[in-house]
Each structure stands twice: as structure tokens, then as C-alpha cells.
Amino acid sequence: MSTHKNLKYNFLHGMKDGVPIGLGYFAVSFSLGIAAQSAGITPFQGLIMSMLNNASAGEYAGIAAIKANASYIEIALLILIANARYLLMSCSLSQKLSPDLPLIHRMLIGFNVTDEIFGIGIAHSYPLPPSYMYGASAVSIPSWALGTMFGIIAGNMLPVNIVTALSAAIFGMFIAIIIPPCRENHFMLGVILVSFLISSLFAIIPGIASLSESVRIIILTLLIAGAAAIIRPVSDEAESEVTSQKEQEA
């Protein structure tokens, strides 16, 4: 097969795997749009925000900060915390790329490392072809960005009681991300319940309650996740990932 045909095959393969991801993204980013609308973000701003960020938790955190008129430093720190997991994902993904892959491809792949795109990238055989990632991104990015835009438009047009109900959607999704791992990992359930409790207390205790939403999220996340990491460090999954990948190569 010629290189050109390979390129096309990998791109189309990526697009195919990107379709279910894109459909899910549309629903999530639509709810994100509902939240963005309440922060006064315009449909066009939402479109660009989602096109450039590709992150549900990160963007929601950003929206909350924008709503509270936070400082630029605050929002930068908040995004750093909310999206820190991508650092870990990109580190794993870098092991999946051919060592001589040119810089420009690494820079382009890096643009759209999301939980789901990372997932299909890691599941792909070694070496991961960049065109596969571009195919998946060609479907997922527009669907993510348009979903946000339509969410904001819907938020502007629908009656207040419907918008109020729809604004619960993003929380329902967050809950569906944090709860399922708790079935097997009871320590995680404890971490989440403690987070709920301390977070609520922080919002009522005099003095602390005057902290801005973004500062509260930053402090609580670092404190609780840091404590959890000390009490119950995770096993070396990432190590075994590399080992199994090397076995495949051999």
C-alpha cells in the first residue's frame, strides 16, 4: 500500500472512530453552552472557546470564573488544575508515537488530547499514525464546538424553567463521571463524599465563604487530591502500559 493510501485509510479510520465520540460530545457541550449562556458568553465566543479548549471540566471551570469576573491569573491556575490530567495523558501518548515523528505533528496531536481521543489513541497499535488522530479530531472538534454554540443559542431562546432544568445536565454528566469508579473503589467514594462536604462547608463558613469560586475550587482540589494521593497512592498502571506496548513491538 502506498503511503498516500495509508494516510487516507488512517484518516478515515479515525473519522469512523470519532463518530460515536462526536455524538457524545455534542450532548455534553450543549449543556456546557447552557452554562456559558448564564455567564453572558455569546454563541460565537462559545464556539471559539470550545474549538480552542476541547475540555468539559476545564471549560466549565472557566465559565464559572468568567461569571465571577475572576482575574486572569485565577483562571489560568484554575484551568491548570482542572485540565492537569491531560499532562499525564500526553505523557502516555508520547510513548505511543514514533520517536522520529516531526515536531509539527506532535504539536497538532497535542491540540486535541481529550479523555476520549486519548482513549482511542492508546488503544491503537504502535506506532500511532497522526492521520488517525486527525480523522477523529475532524469529527469531534466541530461537534464539540457546534454543541456549545447551539447550547448558548437554546439558552437564549427557551423559556426560563426549561433553561433551569437543562442547566442540571452538566452536573448530571459530571456525576456520571465521578460515581461509576466508586463501585469498585470505595476509597474514591470516600474522596468524593469528603469533597462534597468540605466544598459545601467552604461555601458557608464565614471568611472562607468570601473566597471566589475559582480560588475555592483550586484550594480544595489541591488539598483533597493531595491528601488522597498521600493516603492511597495509585499503582503503577502507566508502567505496565509501556511494558505491554514494548511486548507488542517485540
Binding site: 457524545g24 455534553v28 453572558g40 465566543q45 472557546m49 480552542l52 479548549n53 476541547n54 471540566a57 471549560e59 472557566g62 464559572a64 468568567i66 486572569y72 489560568a76 484551568i79 488544575i81 482542572a82 492537569a84 490530567r85 491531560y86 499532562l87 499525564l88 495523558m89 500526553s90 505523557c91 508520547s94 506532535r106 504539536m107 497535542g110 491540540f111 488530547v113 433551569t164 432544568a165 442547566s167 442540571a168 445536565a169 452536573f171 448530571g172 454528566m173 459530571f174 456525576i175 456520571a176 463521571i177 460515581i179 461509576p180 469508579p181 469533597s195 462534597f196 468540605i198 466544598s199 459545601s200 461555601a203 475550587i217 482540589t221 483533597i224 487530591a225 494521593a229 502507566a238 508502567e239
Partner: protein
């Protein structure tokens, strides 16, 4: 002080991009430190938890809406792990309780 939404978006995009691109370009290594790895493992769950509570309680003027939505979505997520279904249940709960 009033901030520009566009500048907010650019700051968000820059930080998001750097987190993703640096390990692929400059670092190109696995993270070995167990504490850092564990911290990065717990971060998203804790961030999502503290962003959900107490914010969900102020969805509508009646805090019962948010409390009920949290419990209903939690139960559905525990049983089905389905993102879309949990979201729908949260919305419907808020809508129905909001009618009273």
C-alpha cells in the same frame, strides 16, 4: 475591574494547550514520581466533585431541586454509568420539582 471574555478564552486555550503539547514535544517521558501520578489520578474526580457541590444546589431558587437532582443522577450513574441518562434524569428532576 472588567475583564475581556476574549482574553479569558485565550488564557484558557493557552494553558490547556501547553498541558497537552509539552509532554508530546519537550518532555517525551513517562511520569515516574508516584505522588505526582497519584495526584493527577485524583485531581479530575475532586475538581468535578467540588464544582458540582455546592453549585448544583443553586440551580433554582429552591435548593431541593438541586439536592434531588444530585441524588437521582447519582443513583442512575451508579446503576448504569450512562452519561446521557444521568444528565436527562438530573434535568427532569429539576423540571418536575420546579413545578411545585
Amino acid at each position: 475591574m472588567n475583564h475581556s471574555v476574549w482574553l479569558y478564552i485565550m488564557v484558557m486555550a493557552l494553558v490547556s494547550y501547553l498541558l497537552r503539547v509539552l509532554p508530546l514535544t519537550l518532555i517525551r517521558k513517562q511520569i515516574k514520581n508516584r505522588f505526582i501520578k497519584s495526584l493527577l489520578f485524583y485531581l479530575p474526580y475532586v475538581t468535578l466533585s467540588v464544582m458540582t457541590v455546592p453549585a448544583i444546589f443553586s440551580i433554582s431558587e429552591n435548593p431541593v431541586c438541586g439536592i434531588a437532582a444530585l441524588i437521582a443522577a447519582g443513583i442512575i450513574a451508579w446503576i448504569t454509568s450512562n452519561l446521557f441518562l444521568s444528565a436527562c434524569v438530573a434535568c427532569i428532576t429539576v423540571f418536575i420539582i420546579g413545578m411545585f
